[in-house]
Each structure stands twice: as structure tokens, then as C-alpha cells.
């Protein structure tokens, strides 16, 4: 099966899929359909450096325009419908596009604040696209009062960028603590302290009841009954998979487009990769929103389109930049039952090691790339170091690595 491949969604997964398809067969017809006008660009900087500095699309492009030579680019063209029986797509402009095989790289979108809570007031932002970031950056003026709703990585990164631009920041987390779903209490404590020292006011176990204002947001009412004057709001309460197109085509969806370890849906001609895909990992079904996941799944999908049998068994990795602090995460620590905190080689460095029983699950490294890289190699090799060895700062981590080869 070497026909025309249509990729829907122009992001990180699509780029890696195209790269792998072309290295397998340089002549295979590839169509890339994206709903934004832009060539695929990097999203992680949008909540980090881009809010603090000038945004330049050229610096964000994953590959330059010339790299797409030979790819039939359909940018600014959303897909209305997939007709599986006829093997074609209907674009929003009415055009029809035939495919032999289809890769869904549809990504995810920000979970919005409901209209009833004031989510449609001017000055209320979510952050996912270049357009979102440009709008938000234009609102970042010294002295303005920003409310961030959600204490996940996105919310914390926005708070850090806003402080560096001289805004005042109040951050709400409805759960018991910031980073509740994604990191240990120890990691959360580090970031809470860091943000407090930079003047961010963090309220945990406090939700947003409503935003109000004439046309533009002016006031926030919190779940503790308090009211706050605000100039702008960023909603950072998680992402939703863009799975509707697949669901309408009667493909299985459950928190994303359900695929097997080879990125395949139940339709042999349709695969899915990246933020939109829900896949088996370690006995569970997971959906990951990260560059690593999009990039690796794009490649696996391409390989399996061409008749490959590759299974995706990743060691997920992720990072967050806030102020001068770099957090690097490898693995998924959800199910941990203990952690070990290890001081790094420098005063501001440490790593948090997540274990379930004797099994190493994940490492959070704070300004500590060495521990991150060693954690990554240990997890990739499936080797769990002894907790007491990790805890012993006099014992070099490199001694725990399996021999290379």
C-alpha cells in the first residue's frame, strides 16, 4: 500500500511523519492539510520565551518552507468530514480530497472557561496557538493585574512570563495544590516557593466562581467568596483532544482517538499521532501532550503506514522553563508510592525520583540536567536503581547506569 497519504493537522507529529515517510519513499505523494495559515511551528515557546520576548514565526517554524518541497500543502484549510467508505475528505471550502491512507495529527485545544462563568468576556485568554500568544503578549503591560486560572505547567509558565514583564499575578488552583495531577508535592513546593519569592500570589484549593465586567473582564469572584479586580485572565485548565472528526467518522474515541501501540485505529487506512491519540502504555490508556510524544508517534505512524510493525513504548519526556529555573521531567510518575529527593551538584539543583515499590517510574530534575539524562537512560534501559543509592548524594549517579552497548 503505497498510495497517497493525507495528513490532517500541521504540527510536530505531522512534520515527523513527513520526514519518516520521505526517508522510506521519496516519491510517495503526501498532502498536508492544516487549519492554520502557518507552516508547522513549535508551541512550547509560546507560553515561555514568546510571552517575554518578541514573537517571530520564522524562529518558531519546525522546518523551513523549502523543506516541504514536493508536499502538497493545504494550509488554512480545515477538514469538515472524513468519508471512510469513499476514501475522501471534505474540506471546509467544499473541496474534496481523496486519500489512500490518512494520518490524523489533529492535536488538542485548550479547555475553555464556560460562557456562564464569563469565559467569553474580552481580556479572557486561552493559550494554544501563535495567534493566542500574540494576543496575550499584546496585553502584557507593566502594572496590569493578571489572573491565571489553573496551577499546571502552562499556568505557572504564564505567571513567570507575566512577572518578568512587570504584571501583578494572582494564580488560582482549584485542586489541593499546584501541579497536583502532574508532579509530586516536593516538586510543587519548590515551584510554589519560587513563584512566591517572585511576587506571584498563589491560592490553592480555590476555584473561580465567575468573571464579570461590562464587555471586558473587570472582576473575578473566587470560590472562597473573595472578589478581585483584574485586567486580564488566562485560563490554563488543561487540554481536550481534537477527536470530533474521528468520532463523526465512527472511529472509536475516549479522551482522544483510540489507537493501538502502532498508532493504528480500527480502520486499517487511518492512523493517529500526537496530542489527539489515546494509546496503550504500561497497562493503561494514556494521552500525552508533548513534543516528544508527537514527534515519536508521527514517526511510528509513518513507519507502520509503509507496512512496518513498530510498537510505540516511549519513555516520555517534557520540560518547563520558569524564570531562571529549568525543570526536566522523564517518565510518568502518576502511580508512585514513594519519592527520593536527591541534592544536585550545585546549590540550586535537585532531582525528585518517583518509585512504585522498587520500580523507578519518573524523575523530575530541577536545574539538574545530569540527573535528568541519567534518569532518562535508566528508564530507557528498564533499570531501577536502589532507592538508598539514589538518596546517597555521595554516590555518583553514573555508577547506577547499566554498561553502554
Amino acid at each position: 500500500m503505497d498510495g497517497r497519504v493525507v495528513i490532517i493537522g500541521a504540527g510536530q507529529a505531522a512534520v515527523s511523519c513527513i520526514a519518516a515517510l520521505r526517508s522510506a519513499d521519496a516519491t510517495r505523494p503526501i498532502v498536508l492539510v492544516g487549519d492554520e495559515e502557518h507552516l508547522p511551528y513549535r508551541r512550547p515557546p509560546l507560553s515561555k520565551s514568546c510571552l517575554a520576548e518578541e514573537i517571530s514565526i520564522e524562529n518558531l517554524l519546525i522546518r523551513p518552507a523549502s523543506w516541504y518541497d514536493g508536499v502538497d500543502l493545504r494550509l488554512g484549510a480545515g477538514v469538515e468530514e472524513i468519508s471512510r467508505r469513499e476514501g475522501r475528505l471534505v474540506l471546509r471550502n467544499g473541496e474534496q480530497l481523496a486519500y489512500d491512507q490518512l494520518v490524523l495529527c489533529l492535536g488538542s485545544r485548550a479547555r475553555p472557561l464556560g460562557r456562564e462563568a464569563g469565559g467569553d468576556l474580552a481580556g479572557v485568554h486561552t493559550l494554544r496557538s501563535l495567534t493566542d500568544a500574540a494576543r496575550l503578549q499584546a496585553e502584557f503591560r507593566p502594572g496590569r493585574r493578571l489572573l491565571v486560572v489553573g496551577g499546571g505547567y502552562l499556568g505557572l509558565e504564564v505567571a513567570a512570563a507575566a512577572r518578568s514583564r512587570g504584571l501583578s499575578v494572582l494564580l488560582l488552583e482549584a485542586g489541593a495544590r499546584i501541579l497536583g495531577r502532574v508532579a509530586s508535592a516536593t516538586t510543587a513546593e519548590h515551584f510554589r516557593t519560587m513563584h512566591a519569592a517572585r511576587g506571584v500570589e498563589i491560592r490553592e484549593a480555590t476555584g473561580l466562581d465567575a468573571l464579570s465586567g461590562a464587555e471586558r473582564v473587570q472582576r473575578a469572584i473566587l470560590s472562597d467568596g473573595s472578589e478581585h479586580e483584574v485586567d486580564l485572565v488566562v485560563i490554563g485548565i488543561g487540554g481536550l483532544a481534537n477527536a470530533e472528526l474521528a468520532a463523526h467518522a465512527s472511529l472509536e474515541t475516549a479522551n482522544g482517538i483510540v489507537v493501538d501501540a502502532g498508532c493504528r485505529t480500527a480502520d486499517p487506512n487511518i492512523l493517529a499521532a500526537g496530542d489527539c491519540a489515546s494509546f496503550p502504555l504500561g497497562g493503561r490508556t494514556v494521552r500525552l501532550e508533548s513534543v516528544q510524544n508527537a514527534s515519536d508517534q508521527g514517526e511510528i505512524a509513518a513507519s507502520n503506514l509503509s507496512g512496518g510493525q513498530r510498537a510505540y513504548a516511549p519513555v516520555p519526556w517534557f520540560w518547563s522553563d520558569q524564570y531562571d529555573t529549568k525543570l526536566q521531567i522523564v517518565g510518568i510518575g502518576h502511580d508512585h508510592d514513594s519519592i527520593v529527593v536527591r541534592p544536585g551538584q550545585r546549590g540550586d539543583a535537585k532531582s525528585i525520583w518517583y518509585f512504585r515499590g522498587e520500580e523507578l517510574l519518573a524523575v523530575d530534575a530541577i536545574n539538574d540536567p545530569s540527573s535528568y539524562m541519567i534518569g532518562r537512560r535508566l528508564l530507557a534501559a528498564g533499570v531501577s536503581p536502589a532507592r538508598r543509592d539514589v538518596a546517597n548524594a555521595d554516590l555518583p549517579l553514573s555508577a547506577m547506569l547499566p554498561p553502554r552497548g
Binding site: I62, S66, V291, Q292, W319, K326, P369, S370, M373, R377
Partner: protein, 106 residues
């Protein structure tokens, strides 16, 4: 603008004039250099922009920073005495003519 040349492990040679101040990972991605991915966008998080030079150039480039050095220590491929992460090198006039080796995958 300094001219930079990349020699990829597969034998491909790529040259580009790079605006002063641009980091060399971004310049490589823009020029389509094979073997430079820059997955993390220059955040010192992925080590997919590893390059090496000859000793004379290495002296002019200077030493890696502390965090960069730690990443290089544990890189998937082989670290050489002149290894750098190219996202940490900014183009400047005295780098005109710089030749960077792009090591192959491990």
C-alpha cells in the same frame, strides 16, 4: 553575516549565512541540516542538536556552560572533547567560516 557549514554524518554538507545573534541550532533547522532536530527548541532539554568542531574552532567557541556540559556528559551518542549543543552557540562575526560536524545517531 558569518558563514557556517555543517557536515552531517551521512555526508551531506550544508552552508548558510547566519544572522548575528541567531543560535546555531535554529540556523541549522532553518537550513535543513540533516541530523539536527532541536526538538526542544533550544531549551537545553533534548540534546538533539549536538555538534563537534576541530580543536582550533573549539577554542574560539569556548567551553560549554554548566548545564550544557551535564547534558553532553550523558548524551545518547559519543561525546567528543569538542562537543557542544548548538542551541547554546550564538552566531557572531568571528565565527565566519566555522565548520561543525554533526555526529550520527548513537
Amino acid at each position: 553575516m558569518p558563514q557556517i557549514t555543517w557536515l552531517s554524518a551521512d555526508g551531506t554538507e550544508t552552508s548558510a549565512d547566519v544572522a548575528t545573534g541567531t543560535n546555531l541550532m535554529e540556523a541549522a533547522v532553518a537550513a535543513g541540516v540533516r541530523g539536527i532536530h532541536g526538538d526542544c527548541g533550544g531549551a537545553l532539554a533534548c540534546a538533539t542538536c549536538h555538534v563537534a568542531t576541530d580543536l582550533a574552532w573549539a577554542e574560539r567557541l569556548g567551553s560549554p556552560g554548566i548545564m550544557e556540559d551535564e547534558m553532553l556528559d550523558m548524551i545518547d551518542g559519543e561525546r567528543t572533547p569538542t562537543s557542544r549543543l548548538s542551541c547554546q552557540i550564538l552566531a557572531r562575526a568571528e565565527l565566519d567560516g566555522l565548520v561543525l560536524d554533526v555526529p550520527g545517531p548513537a
